[in-house]
Symmetry: C2
Subunit: 216 residues, 2 copies
DNA sequence: GGCATAATGTACGAACTGGTACGTTTGCGC
DNA sequence: GCGCAAACGTACCAGTTCGTACATTATGCC
């Protein structure tokens, strides 16, 4: 088959692949440049298809961003499902959950950046999306279960609720990734360096456990 | 030309006021819209002067942003100077510093947002600015002093350094403000509400103190 | 094989946006 | 007053950017 290469160009239709391709490229672009900084043309250029398809499948820049945001949130669904929390005591279960959160944020800087970007825009896209809110409820339930068990075991204090706890854990894990650049520039400590990372990972666990163990 | 109304219009020259005016408006615009989302025309419109002056005094959009960023960082210089830390023990001194950090972030959402924005842009502007890095070193020195005193008093563990501690404190205070919108949308808790705020303020103090008191 | 529809490519346009050319006014030293 | 530089206003331009009209090809179905 000596197919004359580009004359008939051999186009193949693959809607699913095209959509996924656009989403992936768009995620990288939005995460890297912010919503306003992202360029539809730049996304199209890095896609195997054309700008036309972005509008064909997604409708526009804002809807594409919305799809990216949803995809990003969806990918972290039930982060805590894979953990075997039931089989250990509350402290150990919590330790695993904290480490999983830490590792997740570390491994998904694009997700972190998108959340930052969404907050810059006052969370107006997320607020529109009912579905996503429910996805995130599960981590609260998990934490609530751990907290209750910890109280029953006499290991945890009883005046900290699941949302307090989630705030404490995720703020640390999130900040480390989101503010890596300014923190690194100001304090000369590269938070992405393996040794620093491991140190932080241990410290957030210590911190939370010490807090919950405190007798007020 | 029947124009009689604003004949000479009584213009007054006041360079300093003009500059400050532009900076203030620009700070609000950048913080609200992000760097790419901010519009030079929008800034000019809300100023008592014209777009021409932005270029006259600052040179361009990017240099204006740079000036805004510098101004924002400079305004928090020596946050810890007003605290009387020397006159109390380490735990009390640290408590005051944490609360001051918390209150500062709470009162300066624009600063918080600008830092978020700067991180979206990989901190490239901050990295260029040597001056600003030194300004921020003071908080580390202060924390270092507290930590050392705490160890001498036998109240603090000795395997946590000042930068570890600063990371723990500022991540919590920062996240509460920076991610207020997505957090609120996902977990139905308005972090800016006075009661929630006071609760958080107490919790971050408890958390840090419990951590440092832990005997490893 | 023919046809309807989904999928895709190309080229272009209208509006926006950062930046500037050009002219005018103010304030200050004398 | 007078002159001159600093301070300021207006109108406009050129490049960019989102979005679309129009044409074309692939694919499933009978």
């Amino acid at each position: 088959m000596l197919e004359r290469m580009p004359p008939p160009s051999k186009r193949t239709n693959d809607p699913e692949r095209t959509k996924r391709d656009i989403l992936e490229v768009a995620m990288a672009e939005f995460a890297s440049e912010g919503y306003s900084g992202a360029r539809v043309d730049a996304i199209a250029a890095r896609t195997r298809t054309s700008k036309r398809m972005i509008y064909y499948y997604f409708g526009g820049k804002e809807q594409l961003y919305l799809a990216v945001l949803e995809e990003a949130y969806r990918s972290i669904r039930a982060l805590e499902d894979q953990l075997d929390i039931a089989s250990c005591d509350a402290r150990e279960g919590l330790r695993r959950l904290i480490e999983a959160t830490f590792d997740h944020d570390e491994r998904n800087p694009n997700f972190i950046r998108l959340v930052s970007i969404e907050n810059i825009h006052h969370g107006k896209h997320l607020k529109q999306n009912l579905q996503l809110r429910q996805l995130n409820a599960s981590v609260i339930e998990t934490l609530d279960g751990i907290l209750r068990r910890g109280r029953d075991e006499g290991a945890f204090r009883d005046d900290v609720d699941a949302i307090d706890l989630h705030l404490a854990i995720s703020s640390y894990c999130f900040f480390r990734v989101a503010n890596r650049h300014t923190f690194g520039a100001l304090f000369d400590r590269d938070l992405s360096e393996p040794k620093v990372l491991a140190r932080s990972r241990a410290q957030i666990v210590e911190m939370i456990l010490a807090w919950l163990a405190a007798t007020k």
